[in-house]
């Protein structure tokens, strides 16, 4: 295990950070093609077991990597993420490449355009290695609701990777890609990031364009980064953030400078541990936050407890608002213009049969729930009431930020669970998002930073929340949590060598596939 730099199931020594890889490619020390082939090799070894991808774009990625190398050779700027292999959640539109949302209903559909975030990644020189698995239409917390089968947790393949962006989280954790994009509607980036031991961030609503993200719940959806380090996540955020005239809800604010903020440390920052989000989680999840808080205090932060009373209503409000919006967003899958059609004698039968055949049970359940919540006679009691409760939650967080610069909470109630453990009980599955949902309702940024309990084989996440557009302070805190986190699974880990260009290009010391982290360390 020498040289292991991260908690993932990837090979030691191959896990140079994305920032280091880009620097190596930009400077010509390494070729984008070589970096890509290393990652594809890992995909070849572990993907059959993990199933992170719906589609691996090996040939396209090689062409993109070669183009980056050609740019470097020609002296052109290949972009800040030059040659960095990235994985895209398969609900992000990619021009000419199937975009399935892990649903049968989009069978055969090839978008005629790239999502804005994807265009920005390409412009930054990143190399797209594939489209990752998800819970169908991002509805789920385990990636078991995929029409193409579940993704498995690289740290323990009997367990789920979380969801809905489970494929992206697993791809980064397994070393299939250095970075990935996911989408987060109720925790769909942060929760799988926590369960897979990687960094995942949901930006402020409106900071990253949603154009080309297949909508689940429009007022909650945000695209965000997965990475193995906080710095990498910041670098990816800097690339994808910024105003987009194609998204009316895109903020006019300039993209934040995040990597500079990482150096600032947390001394003097006021950090609040959210009482309501510590209640009811498993002891080790709460313990992780307490340990992180203590470590941050040691670094000079002022840590206290803070109550956000209305946060307890988040889950209920979310499971009225999100399905309501989803029921409308998913109406367009009707068999007329693209995707699946089941033939029938008349249009109404065609609509109903197509949708019955094309959607899986969880999607149907949420469409039903949302349709019910919006229907005549129930709107005020359910949807309308949930929107008012949303106002209360926003107010309570605003109040909390009067006394604190950032807030801390667990990302999930506990570590990754076994496949199938919650599939028969929707409500139990929904509870997985109890700590992450409030930030989607308020629009505030939130991120999950891995935390490896000393006596556990599986990672947890410490969640950092900040006021809207508070990404800089959030990443500062995130970097401090990362630095304070116990080494993965007790392995004597080292941070990637500073200026790790040399190190990254050296042949890997340990070539054997890493076992699940905790297993070797005792």
């Amino acid at each position: 295990m020498t040289g292991a730099t991260g908690p993932g199931g990837g090979r030691a020594g191959r896990e140079a950070s994305a920032v280091d890889l880009a620097e190596a490619v930009r400077s010509g020390t390494r070729s984008a093609r070589e970096v890509l082939e290393e990652h594809l090799e890992i995909v070849g070894v572990r993907e059959p077991e993990i199933h992170a991808f719906n589609l691996v774009l090996a040939d396209e990625a090689r062409a993109e990597a070669d183009a980056v190398d050609a740019a470097v050779a020609a002296g052109r700027d290949p972009g800040p993420l030059a040659g960095v292999p990235v994985a895209l959640k398969d609900n992000l539109c990619t021009r000419g490449v199937p975009t399935t949302c892990s649903s049968r209903i989009l069978e055969g559909w090839r978008p005629p355009y790239d999502a804005t975030a994807v265009s920005r990644l390409r412009a930054a020189g990143a190399v797209v290695v594939g489209k990752t698995n998800l819970d169908e239409f991002a509805m789920g917390s385990s990636t078991e609701n995929s029409a193409f089968g579940p993704t498995r947790n690289p740290h323990d393949p009997s367990r789920v990777p979380g969801g809905s962006s489970g494929g992206s989280a697993a791809a980064v954790a397994a070393g299939f890609a250095a970075l990935a994009l996911g989408s987060d509607t109720g925790g769909s980036i942060r929760q799988p990031a926590a369960l897979c031991g990687v960094v995942g961030a949901k930006p402020t609503y409106g900071l990253v364009s949603r154009y080309g993200l297949v909508a689940f719940a429009s007022s909650l959806d945000q695209i965000g980064p997965f990475a193995r380090t906080v710095e990498d996540a910041a670098a990816l955020m800097e690339v994808i953030a910024g105003h987009d005239p194609a998204d009316s809800t895109s903020l006019a604010a300039p993209p934040p400078s995040l990597r500079e903020a990482l150096e600032l440390g947390v001394e003097g920052l006021r950090l609040g541990v959210v009482t309501e989000l510590m209640d009811g989680v498993e002891p080790e999840a709460a313990a992780a936050v307490q340990q992180a808080a203590a470590a941050l205090e040691g670094l000079g932060a002022k840590v206290g407890e803070v109550s956000v009373p209305a946060a307890v209503y988040g889950l209920s409000a979310y499971y009225l608002i999100a399905p309501a919006e989803a029921s409308s967003n998913l109406a367009r899958y009707d068999g007329v213009r693209y995707g699946l059609r089941t033939d029938a004698a008349d249009i109404t039968a065609m609509f109903s049969e197509t949708r019955a055949a094309g959607f899986g049970p969880e999607v149907k359940r949420r469409i039903m729930l949302g349709t019910y919540a919006l229907s005549a006679g129930y709107y005020d009691a359910y949807y309308g009431q949930a929107q008012r409760v949303r106002t209360l939650i926003i107010r309570d967080f605003e109040e909390a930020y009067r006394g604190f610069d950032a807030l801390l909470a667990p990302t999930t109630p506990g570590p990754a669970f076994e496949l199938g453990a919650k599939t028969q009980d929707p409500l139990a599955m929904y509870m997985s998002d109890v700590c992450t949902i409030p930030s989607n309702l308020t629009g505030q940024p939130a991120m999950s930073v891995p935390w490896w309990p000393a006596d556990q084989a599986l990672p947890l996440g410490v969640q950092v929340m900040a006021p809207p557009l508070g990404e800089a302070v959030m990443f500062r805190v995130g970097a401090a949590v990362e630095a304070a986190s116990p080494p993965a699974g007790g392995v004597e880990a080292a941070s990637p060598p500073a200026g790790g260009v040399e190190a990254a290009s050296q042949p890997a010391g340990g070539v054997e596939a890493a076992s699940p982290p905790k297993a070797g360390g005792g």
Partner: protein
């Protein structure tokens, strides 16, 4: 707000949502929807008088674009995605119901 949901309610909602459900699915959803809505009772019971609803997480207004034409998609590319097309148009089975 009672969270008892009848099979008729479920069938009606399924029609609104254009989902052909089996009897077994109707039974399953009747129970599951009731469970979720029961969990939502705490929200339904809150006193929110005087509280404005939030439809957008952040207060942004007047996002407008200039009235300038852009490019359209190629028709062949568009219709190639359609399950059925005819005469430059999307083809659908007969429409029995009236336009609402």
């Amino acid at each position: 707000m009672s969270s008892r949901i009848s099979r008729e309610d479920v069938a009606h909602v399924a029609h609104l949502a254009r989902l052909a459900l089996s009897d077994a699915e109707i039974d399953l959803f009747a129970g599951q929807l009731a469970a979720v809505l029961e969990h939502a009772e705490d929200v339904a019971a809150l006193d929110t008088s005087g509280v404005a609803p939030t439809a957008h997480p952040l207060p942004v207004r007047n996002v407008l674009r200039p009235d300038e034409p852009g490019s359209c998609l190629d028709r062949e590319e568009v219709l190639a995605q359609a399950p059925q097309a005819e005469d430059g148009r999307f083809r659908v089975p007969r429409i029995l119901g009236e336009e609402p």
